[in-house]
């Protein structure tokens, strides 16, 4: 009868701790390297309107207004005097396009009015004010 020599069982335990350490280090590195400045610049608080409809416009361009110096067409920051030209460049057919206006709720109306004038000058006649679909707080209540 053949005798087989039995070798002791080798126990291989994978230690996860250094792996997780390295993964976390990589995650932290990427989080630190992400440039949030563009996102933060376009972060605004929209006004509320309970009569707002769902967005359904087929062709749209978004204009975001945070302040008089922070106006964006889509993701691109533009100077207010150049807004009409920037829109005209971006929109192929102004008659079929709707511009979505995203303005911070505390902006003075004069700022929104200037933007509306530039939108009209670019040839677009359809504008949509983007709002949060929530009840409007009473006047004078902030």
């Amino acid at each position: 009868m053949r005798a087989f020599k039995k070798r002791p069982w080798a126990s291989l335990v994978v230690n996860m701790t250094p792996l997780i350490d390295v993964v976390f280090l990589i995650i932290i590195f990427f989080i630190m390297m992400i440039n949030f400045s563009d996102l933060l610049a376009r972060k605004i608080t929209l006004p509320t309107a309970d009569e707002a409809r769902e967005m359904s416009s087929p062709t749209e361009v978004t204009v975001t207004i945070k302040s008089d110096t922070l106006v964006f067409v889509g993701r691109d920051r533009v100077a207010l005097p150049n807004l009409a030209e920037a829109l005209a460049r971006k929109i192929a057919d102004p008659r079929k396009c709707t511009v979505h206006l995203r303005g911070d709720e505390n902006l003075p109306y004069t700022m929104v009015q200037k933007v509306m004038e530039h939108v009209a000058r670019s040839g677009v006649s359809r504008i949509a004010f983007t709002t949060r679909r929530e009840p409007v707080p009473p006047l004078g209540e902030d």
Partner: protein, 142 residues
């Protein structure tokens, strides 16, 4: 004669300790659940601008009755007053009551003062739509 011993491959016991991994995953889950912020539902209030940046509709160019809503800041506080043709109101509810008395086929011109916050202008526009007055325009400066 000695029989050759057949070399057997050592059996490897492969075990991953799941406990620290699950600990970390739960920790991450709790962190994301606590910090998550859902985007409020957004909608749009649609409006039309004068074509090609023109002067828009003036009182002389329309056969419709024109109702002007002058939105002004009350000097002593953050509150607003909405000056209608015959009277002044200080709330959206009062404005809605007034608008509900008017026929639907009218042209409403919203004339906010330059410093009026955008959210209040949207609030007035929202009230107009609530009262089925869909022909609303915004006055331009000058």
């Amino acid at each position: 004669m000695k029989t050759p011993v057949k070399a057997t491959r050592s059996r490897i016991s492969f075990s991953i300790r799941m406990t620290p991994l699950i600990d970390v995953i739960f920790l991450l889950m709790i962190f994301f659940v606590m910090t998550i912020r859902f985007q409020p539902p957004e909608g749009v209030l649609e409006n039309r601008l004068p074509e090609k940046g023109g002067q828009g509709i003036t009182d002389q160019q329309t056969d419709w009755e024109v109702v002007r809503l002058k939105v002004k800041l009350v000097p002593e506080g953050k509150s607003l007053k909405i000056m209608l043709q015959e009277r002044t109101v200080y709330s959206y509810e009062a404005l809605l009551e007034y608008l509900n008395l008017l026929p639907d086929e009218i042209l409403i011109v919203i004339e906010p003062e330059p410093k009026v916050p955008y959210k209040q202008v949207i609030g007035v526009f929202n009230t107009c739509i609530k009262s089925n007055k869909n022909n609303v325009v915004f006055a331009v400066a000058g």
